[in-house]
Homo-oligomer: 412 residues x 2
């Protein structure tokens, strides 16, 4: 289809006020947005390489790791997922994926595109995968990589990880964890849990815009990536002996990207400077509050929202023992059109709540309390609006019940 030139709207972008209480992206911290307006410096300016080093230091703390190989991937969270898998997985390798929601399926798909044979251990939506079942599958399939989502916003479940690292190490499998939705609002312990590669994004509990993806690799994972065949990029050569297949991507080749972030400073793509400024400020905001304090703030906000929606008489989806702190899946009452409620929340209150995927589509709303929105006023405002909208849709809801229950939860 061809598009005739038309009078292009040359408007200044002037986004309306929104309280983003969905599963992400959420409102970015204004400090982070301001950080992006700092002027650029050159790619190899000592100031810039200093900023890169400082950002690595900050994300080592955020990810609770001493991994030297800690960096940003220049893209959204999904870019880092793919960078991890395409860099670790050689064609024909077996990858084991515990699947308990949509983003587990995404790991399966990305691993297959990288040429993996994929085995899965599946849990029904709303539950997590039994760590013992993962251990059994590791012994049965002897995978090269175990790839697992930590917090899957599609179901709001948080997979227990602490017991998986040991079995992976014992069987020489590398453990990759997608912590996009959990990092900053739930405990993520890269080194204590024996996670080999962890990736995330800014647009959930880190309170930044999408477009930069923190990642860390254990020495074992970094060595595995480095053992892939080195590619002559342009005029670049590497004297190392090739030992594995070529990584299928240049842009997401973590061996090359690490050589850019490391002391060799080999030219790769130009670092996305303004997004690095954003990622740096996200980490600074988080560490000033303290990791434990931020997780506790997310826990309290999530608990208050949960108490509130339950007090409104709404059921909540998923195993209560394994809920993430930062998103609640609220079941849509019988007779209510899910999207009509979302539209009224947005149109009348400028509050965005989330729809759902796959088997949950139309059956649950996903309400997030993430980043700067893990706040009492955001929780109470959302509950007050939801009460009004539900009543207008003919649902019998106790007046003030949601707000009062959330206030009590906060007071507890």
């Amino acid at each position: 289809m061809k598009r005739p030139f038309r009078n292009v709207p040359r408007m200044t972008l002037h986004p309306p006020y929104r309280l983003l209480m969905g599963p992400g992206p959420v409102n970015a911290d204004p400090r982070v947005l301001r950080a992006m307006s700092a002027p650029l410096v050159g790619q190899f300016d000592p100031v810039m390489t200093g900023y890169m080093n400082a950002t690595q230091d900050l994300y080592r703390q955020v990810l609770r790791t001493t991994n030297d190989a800690t960096l940003l991937v220049d893209g959204t969270a999904r870019a880092a997922i793919e960078a991890a898998l395409v860099s670790l997985v050689e064609p024909g390798d077996t990858v084991l994926v515990p699947v308990f929601g949509r983003f587990g399926h995404l790991l399966v798909e990305i691993a297959r595109r990288a040429g993996a044979k994929v085995a899965t251990v599946d849990a029904p939506w709303g539950q997590v995968v039994d760590p013992q079942a993962v251990a059994d599958a590791v012994r049965a399939h002897r995978p090269r990589v175990v790839a697992v989502v930590h917090g899957d916003t599609s179901t709001t479940m948080r997979q227990p990880l602490a017991d998986i690292g040991a079995v992976c190490a014992e069987h020489d499998a590398l453990l990759y964890v997608d912590a996009t939705a959990s990092l900053g609002g739930n405990d993520v312990r890269t080194d204590d849990w024996g996670l080999d590669v962890v990736t995330a994004g800014l647009q959930k509990c880190l309170g930044g815009p999408p477009g930069s993806a923190p990642a860390t690799l254990s020495d074992r994972a970094r060595d595995a990536v480095r053992a892939r065949t080195h590619v002559e990029e342009g005029l670049r050569t590497d004297a190392d002996e090739p030992r594995g297949t070529v990584i299928g991507s240049n842009y997401l080749d973590l061996a090359q990207v690490l050589d850019y972030w490391g002391p060799r400073r080999l030219n790769h793509h130009t670092e996305a400077t303004s997004m690095l400024y954003a990622a740096h400020e996200c980490a600074r905001v988080l560490l000033e509050e303290g990791l434990d304090a931020a997780v506790e703030r997310h826990r309290r906000a999530g608990a208050a929202l949960l108490a509130g929606v339950q007090a409104l008489g709404l059921a909540v989806f998923g195993d209560p023992a394994h809920r993430m702190h930062n998103v609640v899946a609220v079941e849509v009452p019988d007779g209510v059109v899910a999207d009509a409620v979302r539209a009224a929340m947005l149109d009348d209150f400028a509050i965005e709540i989330g729809t759902s995927f796959g088997p949950l589509h139309g059956r649950v709303w996903r309400i997030g309390t993430m980043g700067v929105n893990a706040r009492k006023d955001a929780v109470l405002t959302t509950l007050a609006a939801l009460e009004h909208v539900l009543r207008a849709q003919g649902v019998a809801v106790p007046p003030g019940g949601g707000v009062s229950a959330a206030q009590e939860a906060y007071a507890a």
Copy 2:
């Protein structure tokens, strides 16, 4: 290597003043930096999808095309190069690459990683590839894709493209052009020249930060991408019959990304919202000036810089008939240490000029006049500083000669 936790520098980023006169990134337009601090809206908020549509319209104008399939890739320019090649090239396909500098080698490397058999037509550094040689090679190799750099900053050469499109169309080859370094400062005519896919980045003549990459696909190219096997992403299925191999990347799968930018609005990765704001503002700034006026401004700045360095007695590298407007390769005089001059320019004048790659390393400086820096004052300031630094290094340079020559060129 393990890194012990250390007292992380939690400094506010406060980049020093820099005049970035290298081959990119250059100083971003302050309007573009400010645009990024606008608040976020949700991924499927009608406001956001409206912004996406507006951005598509703007880049159709910037790229001089009526292609419906016009969008942003969420990464730096290199992400869009890889998206184009991995989406177009099936394993075993022949790709023909005219190579006349470093970035041609990059196209070779990326095409090979995508599984292509690559044929090249090579020109020495400092020259372009004879379009007749490209036509002959198309007839000889019958490639599926011809991939060519428009302006290669490594040599400052601009490849003539106007005659290549017809021969590609005649032999059913898709013509991909990397216009990263040329777009906005040199004439780029997607439809008039019969270019099937064009990609770019923000950080050169568009005057933005790196991290978002405009791209456009002709209907023929879009159909070729759509004919690749569709992947079930998570719970997504597509009824189309598979006709080609699966695209090796999820993040850079243009079939899926186009379904996100198109009317189906299928969920893919979350659009990098703040970088979209930047890309939108870059296009607005450019179109307010006018494409022809912007190209002419770059032409004048480049000509003035060229006159200035020649008046300083310096030789200029590369075929004068095929120089890009926006970067000049200045030969390093005998006995001068190239990096010492660059360091003095940066340390004493806060002006960054570029080093060079490969056969030119240490032999030329690359001085760019791009985006907001394609300005008379930036050119004169750079020449005045360069004169001082060269004299301090013992080079006999005529006092004021560079600045005067540039002023005369501007007055002409």
